[in-house]
């Protein structure tokens, strides 16, 4: 098992290098640093000197991949790729356009992101699995039919509608909770309720339908017939036999997103004014701050790979066939 995890971690390395190369190609090959300087400084009235100054200030004056002038190790290290991309491996993300340290900023914003994403995730999982299990339990009845219709309709509504509609109705018309913002400490819950509820509601449609399909697939399996032949009541058949087996495919889709919860949600955070990583990313996109976007891409990839490894580990917890391999 340990050897397996180590191997997975080592396998993650070439993937992260690949991710870095892709982002590097996107940021520095599609557009030269000159293009970006012109962009940041405004296209019209920009002098070559200003461009040069902008580049030197931010370390974009070096060669891209290989510095022929510098000798030895410096020919690799004294380049934009090494300075900007390779350094991210050790957690050095550099500075944003406004001069702030990106790593510090990220550290500070993780908690608010998690405060929304984690409750949304757990509550959402609980609600959708319960709903899907109920639909599967009453399969081929009118309840199931209308449940699925509801899911398809819910799936067809834009996520933006849930947010805008929820904010308008709950905060503006009913004035139950603040429309947006974030408070420190325990006071934060008043700001969290609305985004969490909206996050859960907007996810119900598609997840429920997916889980229902998984449950129905299990229902038709042979071991379920065996369980019924034992004279077990239907509830026991569902909770002891079907749920246990259905958890295996459900886990694949679910565990992989757990680390990504740290990244926060772009939409929710920016709509509700939560100072998390999601709104940080949005602000960076709107300000065209490449350093921040690049850092977020890197962190996102790392978290995704962690998620993959966690998925494999969680398999061994629910599936004895893999545990004993």
């Amino acid at each position: 098992m340990l050897a397996y995890i180590v191997r997975r971690l080592l396998y993650a390395l070439p993937i992260l290098i690949g991710v870095n190369l892709v982002t590097f190609a996107l940021f520095f090959v599609v557009n030269t640093p000159d293009d970006m300087a012109r962009m940041q400084l405004g296209v019209k009235r920009v002098t070559p000197e200003a461009i040069e100054k902008w580049k030197v200030e931010r370390g974009y004056d070096k060669p891209l991949l290989l510095n022929a002038e510098a000798g030895g190790l410096a020919s690799v290290t004294n380049t934009i790729f090494f300075e900007k991309s390779a350094r991210m491996f050790v957690g050095d993300f550099g500075r944003a356009e406004d001069g702030r340290d990106i790593a510090r900023e990220i550290g500070g914003r993780m908690l608010p992101s998690l405060a929304i994403a984690l409750p949304t995730f757990i509550l959402g999982l609980f609600v959708t699995i319960t709903f899907a299990l109920t639909l599967a339990f009453f399969r081929a009845t009118a309840f199931d039919f209308w449940g699925v219709v509801l899911c398809v309709a819910a799936m067809s509504i834009s996520g933006l509608f849930y947010i805008i509609g929820g904010q308008y109705l709950i905060s503006k018309v009913w004035r139950l909770v603040p429309i947006s913002g974030f408070g420190a400490g325990l006071e934060a819950w008043r700001f969290l309720i609305l985004p969490v509820v909206i996050g859960v509601v907007s996810g119900i449609g598609s997840s429920t339908r997916w889980y229902r399909t998984i449950f129905l697939e299990e229902v038709s399996k042979d071991y379920v017939r065996t369980a019924r032949a034992k004279g077990l009541p239907e509830t026991l058949v569902f909770f002891r036999h079907i749920l246990r087996n259905a958890m295996i495919p459900i886990l694949t889709g679910v565990v992989v997103v757990i680390p990504m919860l740290f990244m926060g949600s772009l939409l929710t955070e920016s709509f509700f004014g939560i100072p998390g990583l999601g709104s940080y990313t949005i602000d960076a996109i709107n300000a065209q701050d490449f350093s921040v976007v690049r850092s977020m891409v890197f962190i996102g990839s790392v978290l995704y790979i962690v998620g993959l490894i966690l998925t494999d580990i969680s398999y061994t917890l629910v599936d004895p066939r893999i545990r004993f391999e």
């Binding site: 982002t23 940021f27 557009n31 296209v43 398809v152 067809s156 834009s158 996520g159 933006l160 805008i164």
Partner: protein, 460 residues
Amino acid sequence: MMGFQIVVLWSDVLIWLLVAAGLGVGVLIAKNPPLLAAWRRVGANRVGMASATVLLGFILIGLLDSLHYRAQLESKPGQKAAYAVEVLSVLDALASPLRSRNEKTYSEPFATRLYAKETIDVPGQGTVRDYPRLKHGGKHLGEREDDVVEDAGFTAFKAGVLAFVGWLGVFGAVATVNRKKSPKLKLREAAFAWDAVLLTLLLMALTLVPLFWLAGQYHVFGTDKVGQDVLYQILKSVRTGLIIGLVTTLVMLPMAVLLGIVAGYFRGWVDDVIQYIYTVLNSIPGVLLIAAAVLMMQVVIDTHPEWFSTAAERADLRLLALCFILGITSWTGLCRLLRGETLKLRELEYIQAAQAFGVSSWRIIVRHILPNLMHIVIIALVMDFSGLVLAEAVLSYVGIGVDPTMTSFGTMINNARMELGREPVVWWSLVAAFSAMFILVLAANLFADAVRDAFDPRAA
């Protein structure tokens, strides 16, 4: 008569190519009974056919909006003909009353006056602060401004009756054809779900005909900040949504199919390389990859203004770039699915029988594997559509979607959202955009379900 110059945008090319491909695939299907049987099952599905009818309506709007031209400007004889900077489409021409009759700013649906009070000169009374009368909305009423409900109701009724008569004609035609083809069966029992199609057509006729009829006299969905008719914006958004939903899949399909099959069939190092590529792409969070790519694309567009002769072309290029980027981020799922399925297929005995004859690998892929994966490809194609339409709205909101000058559901929602804080609320553009998008996506989802049920071999 005014001359015009045909403008072919890249997205037009792709969308008509898609239409041609669709027709080509249709011909192929007609020759292949198993596929035809699956499509017959789709055709027998009432919900599926009702939603297909709605989708066809949207597609028609989109296609009309994909024939572009530039009108000739008035010029003296002998002078070289000059053309307008504005690129118009056939849809614009058909809906020119909607397009041209702009108000000053917001107005509610069916309003005769603007939404905000202004200082106006009234002859004989000096300046008054009042809601100014709209330039176009309800103009024909003249002084009878209070009669809006009566007038609109009567017009709608007239149009409704006319629509119903027209629908009866369609119904009669279908019934006659049906009777000739299969005299014994009633329409309800026909193999093709004609009843659902006709019912949907009736509902569409009863809502759309009065709507457009009234649109000639009122702003049925109101106007936006710059006074543009919201209904017109909705019509224009349809094409954007369709292109995002269809062209993206078209872009990613060949890559996903080719790489997925090749990885599954040849295995070994080919498989390793392809798996590496899609794991790398998969591990970059989708939105961020799109954000990064769109930002870079924007820099390219901004630093090369000389590439585009019109704003429409620039917006069009950005739209296509978005499609490509979405395609690149979304092919991995299908690729993985096809790889897994190919791994299963290649162990099947008919593949081994072909190998025993020494049939070449590529021929096995084309003859044996690809046709047996078609159902997955078709299901993926229709399933992805609705997700992409929804994604466009979100991306445009985040600022990494289509060009802000291009009308789309996303840009409409984004513009309207700012006005929710106003008192009284400006709700109409938002509601109209969400409703139109909901109808489009719901129809796509229901149609996708029908297709999946018909093509899924487990269901068959």
